[in-house]
């Protein structure tokens, strides 16, 4: 740290290299969403029907179960960052912004956990829930 002048306060600290973190994660999860959503929609088209029995036994298989869990993770992560941008753009009152972001974290982490648990239950109960 320097001697208190403007340049002195930041000299030597360098770039944190974390500025584009959200931007990059938004892209990484977008790629995950793209690949896995196309897999899910393709599965809908290729499965004989979308009834309970067909879907429950489909998600009981290891690969579809893991793909579905990863899709839930990628979707909720992507949605969390996207909705955060929405809140930061339109909610300017500091207290309201904090509350909205706190609610967003609760909803996306809670929702994602619920989704992953549901797929795990389907997979581990062998499609006979």
């Amino acid at each position: 740290m320097g001697n208190g002048t403007s340049i002195g306060k930041v000299r030597g600290l360098g770039s944190a290299h974390e500025g584009p973190h959200h931007w990059l994660v938004q892209r990484f999860t977008a790629i995950g969403n793209l690949v896995l959503m196309l897999w899910l929609l393709g599965s809908f088209l290729l499965l004989p029907d979308l009834g309970y029995g067909t879907l429950a036994s489909y998600f009981a298989k290891p690969v579809p179960a893991v793909a579905m869990i990863l899709l839930v993770l990628s979707l909720f992560w992507h949605a969390r960052i996207g909705l955060q941008v929405l809140i930061e753009d339109y909610v300017h009152t500091p207290g309201n912004k904090f509350a909205a972001l706190a609610l967003l974290n609760l909803a996306t982490i809670g929702g994602g956990a619920f989704g992953i648990f549901c797929v795990a239950r389907l997979a581990l109960s062998g499609g006979a829930a």
């Binding site: 892209r27 977008a30 793209l34 959503m37 929609l41 809908f44 088209l45 309970y52 029995g53 879907l55 429950a56 998600f59 579905m68 839930v72 979707l75 909720f76 949605a79 996207g82 909705l83 929405l86 300017h92 929702g111 619920f114 989704g115 648990f117 549901c118 797929v119 239950r121 389907l122 829930a129």
Partner: protein
């Protein structure tokens, strides 16, 4: 905040397709995040809960139009079920629209596609291709 200087040209602009595709990207993305993920969780929760819960889910979200009742209080529920069916189709449109404008973002991210004509072309093409993909998806799903 209110005393901060504003750009002198903020109020001078006219509509272009790039604005539409940008707004569509946000609306479809946040719409899917709020409505789509809730329905996804209901779907997964119903699947994990068993056949009765799954029947309840499909009964609401993808009702048999021919079997709807149109008398008394049932009119209200039937209207809701028709609306939910439109929501499901709307979500698929939102997905393809967000996917196409998202792919456009990837191209813009690498620094390509900013020439005026190219930018205009793909701003118009993205939402149009999305509508075609939405129609194609439902055609394949319902006519298989």
């Amino acid at each position: 905040m209110s005393n901060r200087p504003l750009s002198p040209h903020l109020s001078i602009w006219k509509w272009g397709p790039h604005m539409l595709v940008s707004i569509l990207h946000r609306v479809t993305g946040d719409g899917m995040a709020l409505a789509g993920l809730a329905i996804l969780l209901w779907w997964l929760g119903a699947l994990a809960s068993g056949p009765a819960a799954y029947d309840s889910f499909t009964g609401w979200m993808w009702a048999d139009i021919g079997a709807l009742q149109w008398s008394g209080i049932d009119i209200l529920w039937s209207l809701l079920k028709v609306l939910l069916k439109i929501v499901m189709i709307g979500l698929s449109w939102a997905f393809f629209t967000h996917m196409l404008s998202g792919l456009r973002h990837f191209v813009l991210d690498i620094g390509a596609g900013y020439e005026l004509d190219t930018n205009r072309l793909w701003s118009i093409a993205s939402p149009v291709i999305a509508v075609i993909l939405t129609a194609g998806f439902w055609a394949l799903l319902l006519l298989r």
